[in-house]
Symmetry: C2
Subunit: 360 residues, 2 copies
C-alpha cells in the first residue's frame, strides 16, 4: 500500500521539526566524530565536487561537506527545519555553496547529478524509520555512476546478553495484572458490569507492551555474554529497497561466560565510510553503536527479552534465527521475531522461542 504523506508526517517527520530533537543528535559525540572524521580525513572525495545531503536536518553534514571543499552542496530536508539549516548555512558564510531545499527527497529535482551522497539515515537498530529507502531513491536518481556514498556500508549485529530489565518488566506486568483484577472486581461490585472477559486480551496487551516490545538500553560490555553475530550487511552503493524490506538470518553464538543467565539478545549496528572500490577512502572511518563504556551513542542498543531467562554456561552454543519485517500499520516500525536453541557442550538441546517484538 502506498504511504499516506499526512500520516507519515504525523507519525514520523513531526519530531524532526524540533530543534530539541536535532540537538540530541548533534550532541552525540560518537556520531559527530565519525561523520566529522569521515569528511575531513577524506577531503579528496569532496574537493570541487557536488554533494547531496539527504535529510539535512540542521545542515551540519552539508556544512562540513562545504568546509571540506565541495563546489556545491544540495541539502534536502523535508521538515521546516530546512529554514533553520538555511540560517546556519548563512551564519557560517556558506550560502554560495550550500543550497538548502525544503522538500521530500522523493520529490526534489536537482539541476545536476552529484559525486557524493552523505546522509545520516540510521534509526534504532539501523533500519527503524526506514529512511534508507529515501537514500536509495536519491542514489538511483542523482548519484553519478562514479559517485561515492557516505556511509558506504552498514552491518547489523546481535549478541546474547544478561540484563535485569526482564525481571523489572515482569514485575511491571504482574502489578499491572494485579491492578486489573482489582479493577474488574470493583466494576462488578460497584457498577454491576462483569469485565472479566477482557482479562485475557488485557493480559495480552500488557504482555506485548512490557515483555514483547524491544527496549532501548545502553548495555555495558560486561552484559554481553557471547560472541556477536552479524545478521545483515548492506552495501549502500548497491542495496535496493527489496534487500532491506526484510531481514532474515540464522546465526550462531558461543557463550563466553561461565554459569550465567541468557536474558535475551542485544541488537546494534555499525556503519563504515570506505568510499568506493575504485575511489577508496584515504582513511577509513567506522561508527559503531556496540555496547561501550565510554563511547555510547543516542542509539543505544535494542534489547529483546527472553522470558523466562535460561541458564547457560561458557562453551554452550546458541543457534538463533532472526526475522524482521516492517509493520503493516506503519512502514517505519519493525516487527521482529527471534528464536534460539541452546546446544549445551554436553550435547543436550534446549529449543526456545526468545521473543516476539515490535520496536516502537
Amino acid at each position: 500500500a502506498p504511504v499516506d504523506k499526512g500520516v507519515d508526517f504525523a507519525n514520523y517527520f513531526c519530531t524532526y521539526a524540533f530543534l530539541y530533537h536535532q540537538k540530541e543528535m548533534l550532541s552525540d559525540r560518537v556520531r559527530m566524530d565519525a561523520y566529522y572524521n569521515a569528511v575531513f580525513k577524506n577531503k579528496h572525495h569532496f574537493h570541487g565536487q557536488a554533494v547531496l545531503d539527504v535529510g539535512a536536518g540542521s545542515g551540519i553534514l552539508a556544512i562540513w561537506s562545504a568546509q571540506a571543499g565541495a563546489r556545491k552542496v544540495y541539502a534536502v530536508e523535508a521538515t521546516s527545519m530546512a529554514e533553520h539549516a538555511r540560517a546556519v548555512v548563512k551564519a557560517n558564510n556558506l550560502q554560495d555553496v550550500v543550497e538548502v531545499i525544503e522538500g521530500s527527497m522523493e520529490d526534489v529535482v536537482l539541476p545536476e547529478k552529484v559525486d557524493v551522497i552523505i546522509s545520516e539515515w540510521m534509526g534504532y537498530f539501523l533500519l527503524r524509520e526506514s529512511m534508507f529507502d529515501s537514500v536509495i531513491c536519491a542514489r538511483d536518481r542523482w548519484l553519478k555512476p562514479t559517485g561515492v556514498m557516505y556511509p558506504s556500508h552498514a552491518t547489523m549485529w546481535v549478541a546474547p546478553i544478561r540484563t535485569g530489565l526482564g525481571d523489572q518488566k515482569n514485575n511491571d506486568y504482574d502489578s499491572s495484572m494485579d491492578d486489573w483484577e482489582r479493577f474488574t472486581d470493583e466494576t462488578k461490585n460497584y457498577y454491576g458490569v462483569d469485565m472479566s472477559v477482557l482479562t485475557k486480551p488485557f493480559s495480552q496487551e500488557q504482555k506485548k507492551y512490557y515483555l514483547q516490545t524491544s527496549l532501548w538500553n545502553n548495555l555495558h560490555p560486561h552484559q554481553v555474554i557471547g560472541t556477536a553475530a552479524s545478521i545483515k550487511e548492506i552495501d549502500c552503493l548497491t542495496a535496493s529497497v527489496s534487500d532491506i524490506l526484510e531481514v532474515n538470518s540464522n546465526f550462531s553464538s558461543t557463550v563466553t561466560l561461565q554459569n550465567t543467565r541468557l536474558c535475551g539478545y542485544g541488537g546494534w549496528f555499525d556503519v563504515q565510510f570506505r568510499g568506493r572500490k575504485e575511489d577508496p577512502a584515504q582513511e577509513e572511518v567506522e561508527l559503531t553503536t556496540a555496547p561501550s563504556v565510554d563511547d555510547s551513542t543516542h542509539w543505544g542498543q535494542q534489547v529483546f527479552l527472553l522470558n523466562p531467562p535460561a541458564r547457560i554456561t561458557e562453551g554452550d552454543k546458541l543457534n538463533g534465527s532472526f526475522s524482521m519485517k516492517r509493520s503493516k500499520e506503519n512502514h517505519r516500525l519493525m516487527e521482529v521475531e527471534f528464536s534460539c536453541e541452546i546446544r549445551q557442550q554436553s550435547g543436550e538441546l534446549v529449543p526456545r522461542l526468545v521473543a516476539l517484538c515490535s520496536s516502537c
Copy 2:
C-alpha cells in the same frame, strides 16, 4: 480543510484501541459515579427506549442503558475496541439489546431514530479532542425531535490560581538554555560550525514547550485564589459545531486571598444530566472536574501559566479575556490565549498578558 482520516487515526483514535487507556477512564470513580447515577436515577428516560452510545469504548454506557431498561442500544465505536465491547456485552448477557457497531459515527447508518443519546465525549478542558462534533452529527441525524441528551449541558470554568509549577518550568527552561549554550560552544570549538544563530528559535521553541503550553494538574482547592468564572455554556441539545469552533469570553474574577501570587489560571469543566425541558430528569446529576481534595478526576485541570507571576491581594479585580481556537495542524488540539488586567482596590491598573498556550 477536510480531516484526513488516516492522520486522525494516527493522532487521535489509536490510543483508544488500548484496553489500558479505556481502563483509565473506567477507573475514574467520579466519572463513573456520575454516569451511573445519571442513568439509574433516571430510568424513565431509558425504559423501553432506543439509545445511541456515541463512542462506546468498552461498552460501559451502552450496558448501563440496557440494564436500566432500554429496548435497544446502538453502541458505535470507531476503533477495534468495538470487538472487546461486543465481548463484554455478551458476557453480561445483553447481546439481544446492545448492538455494537464498529465504525465512525459520521458514517454509521442506524435502522431507526433514537430516544436517548449518551456519550462521554469530554476531553481535557472540555473541548480538547473535538469529539463533541461527532455527538452533534449523531444528534442531528439520529435523535428524535423529543429525544434526550446525556449529558444535557456543559460549562467551562476558569479561575485565578497560585502554583509552584511556573517556578519549576522556569528552572527547566533555564537549564535547557544553559545546556544549549554549552552545546553551541562545543559545536563551534570541536566541529567548526557556529550554531548560535539558532539560539533565538531554540529559546522560542523551549519557551513554548515549558512555559506557553498548558499543563495537566490536579489542583488543590486552596490553590484557587479568586472567584471562578464560567466562560462557555453549552446546551447539548441545540449547540452546533460553529458554536464550539471558538470560545471567546471576557470574564472577571475577584481575588479572595490576602497578599498572594497570581501564577496563572486554572481551567476545568462540568457537565449536567438534566434531561430535556419537556422531559426533565427525575434526579439531576452533575459531573464536575473542579479542583477537589477527594473527588479528583483523570481530567484534572489545565493550568495556564502567567510568567512572571504578579502580586495581588484580596479584593483585587481581575478582568480577563480568553480565546480558544482549534489548532490549524490538528483540529483536535486547541490554541488558547489569555490576557488579564489587575485592577487593584486602590484603583491602579496593571495590564498583563498572561499566557499564549496550546494544549497538546
